[in-house]
């Protein structure tokens, strides 16, 4: 690794470190963010399992990866609000004037946002396990599931940074956030299998990155399924696309 690459790599990791240090100083947000997903897996899933025939044997286990992504993606999508705040403060101006390439700012912040969001994986799976959910006992597959969460939320955080660049004000940003997050959740396979969805909704789900994220994680931690290449391909296309657009549009955030 040459000096330039090392510097670029360090600057990206520095932003992740910044995020982890912030969580370390104030972990309350992680806990408060977890309340809703915990209710999904400990109350909703248990009740639904007894009431509705979804063609799924163990609904609590089934829904857990979906709830992980509902919660983590919501945090990732909300990360852009921090960029809006940083636009109003001087942080972003200082970052834009620092020697690191603009792309690294987006990649670094996207990775930082996704690492912050990924904490939900541990909390949700632990809560689901407490009410009887069964996951793989293979630590490598559990770790792979965690890495999928980080990987997917890089794309969602990039999408959020893009929205922050275009929307610019907190109010507009919050408005668009609400318009995106819940539809993403409900038009994916997070709560129910694709096969029971109406045909038009199935088509929409195929264009929803959350579908592939949930499918990959469900495959890894519920069914010990190793072949997730198609999911990874779809998620890579999503990540590359949104990182590229977010990098291109970053300059708009300051204008």
């Amino acid at each position: 690794m040459n000096a330039r690459t090392l510097r670029a790599f360090t600057s990206v990791l520095a932003m992740v470190e910044m995020e982890l240090r912030r969580v370390w100083h104030d972990p309350v947000e992680i806990v408060t963010r977890a309340v809703q997903p915990i209710l999904w897996v400990t109350v909703f899933s248990v009740v639904m399992a007894h009431r509705v025939a979804l063609g799924v044997q163990d609904y609590t286990s089934f829904i857990a990866p979906g709830v992980v992504f509902q919660s983590a993606t919501f945090i990732a999508l909300g990360y852009g609000i921090m960029m809006v705040f940083e636009r109003e403060s001087g942080v972003l101006k200082r970052l834009l004037s620092s020697p690191i390439p603009r792309a690294n700012i987006v990649i670094g912040r996207a990775l930082a946002g996704s690492v912050r969001a990924s904490t939900q994986y541990i909390i949700v799976l632990a809560s689901a396990a407490l009410v009887g959910a069964k996951f793989t006992d293979n630590p490598l597959l559990l770790t792979a599931g965690y890495l999928i969460v980080i990987y997917v939320d890089i794309g969602f955080t990039a999408m959020s940074i893009l929205l922050a660049s275009v929307m610019k004000t907190r109010e507009r940003f919050m408005g668009i956030m609400g318009a995106i997050s819940m539809p993403l959740f409900f038009t994916s396979n997070a709560l129910y299998p694709l096969k029971i969805m109406p045909k038009p909704l199935q088509m929409v789900a195929l264009f929803n990155p959350l579908t592939y994220a949930v499918d990959a994680t469900r495959g890894l931690i519920l069914y010990d399924k190793l072949d997730i290449s198609m999911d990874l391909l779809a998620l890579t296309i999503f990540n590359v696309l949104f990182l590229a657009i977010a990098i291109k549009e970053l300059s708009k955030i300051i204008e």
Binding site: R7, T10, S11, L13, A14, M15, E17, M18, R21, R22, H25, D26, F85, E88, S89, G90, V91, K93, R94, L95, L96, S97, S98, P99, I100, P101, S251, I254, E255
Partner: protein, 337 residues
């Protein structure tokens, strides 16, 4: 013998029109020599921050060029950013981290090698007098400490040019003095060029070796503080006399001076040469049996220069509003992280 001067900043015919059609800069020309301390002075909305944003490569100009040590800000942004340290007007710290953590994260972002990173961070904090407070969360810092930390961070990469946007806005006089003492001491030690925007006349007067006055997106005058005051300002001799001020005015008029009586009983005599005028004035008034109770020389200020050039001073109300705005943003961010 020809001495080659290196230009730290060179701005030519710079125009910036924002997407809403607002013209922030309208043909700005400006040069800053290496090693100088140069102020861009003007009221709120004059174009100071836009100029700084272009020079720091945050935004691109609509027309014209800006160079930093010969590198073009539009096409060689990365090279420019390697040479500058920048302190924006708004707070640029993560308030929910400690001072040390902020400095460390920025050291990594600036690409300071890991082998000397800890030393550089400690040195910068020590230099700005923040070593003891460095393990505290930034949200517990005073406004002056926050500013010194921001400057410490900007200095970590040993920039050849440090650019500050309103470096002491909202600070009390003692905190302002501390900030400037540290900056000037750094400049003396490392020969760093300082380019700063301010609306504080006294700050530009005291700490800048050269000044560009900006108004409505145009540079309206340039020079050292003394040159500007000599060229555009006028000194005054202010008198308090025993007896009739009107008669004193007549006597002074007879001596060839233009005198104005104020409401407070004081008489102001405008003069380009107060040192030679003062004895003549006192002598003339004594000869006419008018007692001079008090006489003092009031030098021209940059405010006078600004009024002379633009027909208006910097509106205090407007500036107070701006200071309040900046402070409220800082306060809000300090609370909300």
């Amino acid at each position: 013998m020809v001495t080659l001067v290196t230009l730290a900043v060179e701005v030519r015919d710079l125009v910036k029109v924002y997407s809403g059609g607002v013209t922030a800069l309208n043909g700005v020309n400006l040069t800053v020599e290496e090693g100088a301390s140069h102020a861009i002075l003007g009221p709120n909305g004059a174009g100071k921050t836009t100029l700084i944003r272009i020079v720091t490569t945050q935004i691109k100009p609509t027309r014209g060029s800006a160079k930093v040590f010969g590198f073009d800000v539009s096409s060689q942004g990365e090279r420019v950013r390697e040479l500058i340290g920048y302190v924006p007007q708004e707070m640029s710290l993560w308030t929910d981290l400690t001072g040390y953590e902020n400095a460390l994260i920025y050291a990594k972002i600036y690409g300071i090698e890991s082998s000397r990173r800890a030393e550089v961070v400690e040195e910068a904090l020590e230099f700005m007098g923040l070593r003891e407070a460095s393990r505290r969360l930034v949200k517990t810092y005073s406004g002056g400490m926050i500013r010194r930390l921001e400057i410490a961070i900007a200095l970590m990469s040993r920039p050849r040019l440090i650019i500050l946007d309103e470096p002491t806005i909202g600070l009390d006089p003692r905190a302002r003095m501390l900030v400037w003492e540290s900056l000037l001491s750094y400049k003396k030690e490392y020969g760093t060029t300082i380019f700063f925007a301010t609306h504080y006349m006294d700050e530009a007067d005291r700490y800048a070796e050269s000044i560009s006055l900006i108004n409505r997106g145009k540079i309206i005058a340039e020079g050292t503080p003394l040159e500007l005051k000599k060229t555009y300002g006028v000194d005054k001799v202010v008198l308090r006399v025993g007896g009739d001020a009107e008669r004193a005015k007549e006597v002074l008029s007879g001596l060839g001076f233009s005198a104005v009586a104020g409401n407070n009983g004081e008489i102001s005599v405008v003069t380009k040469e107060p040192a030679t005028a003062l004895p003549k004035i006192i002598e003339g008034l004594y000869s006419a049996d008018i007692k001079v109770l008090e006489a003092r020389v009031v030098e021209a200020s940059l405010d006078d220069v600004f009024i002379k050039l633009t027909g208006r001073g910097i509106s205090e109300g407007e500036e107070r509003e701006r200071v309040r705005e900046v402070l409220s943003t800082r306060g809000m961010i300090r609370r909300g992280g």
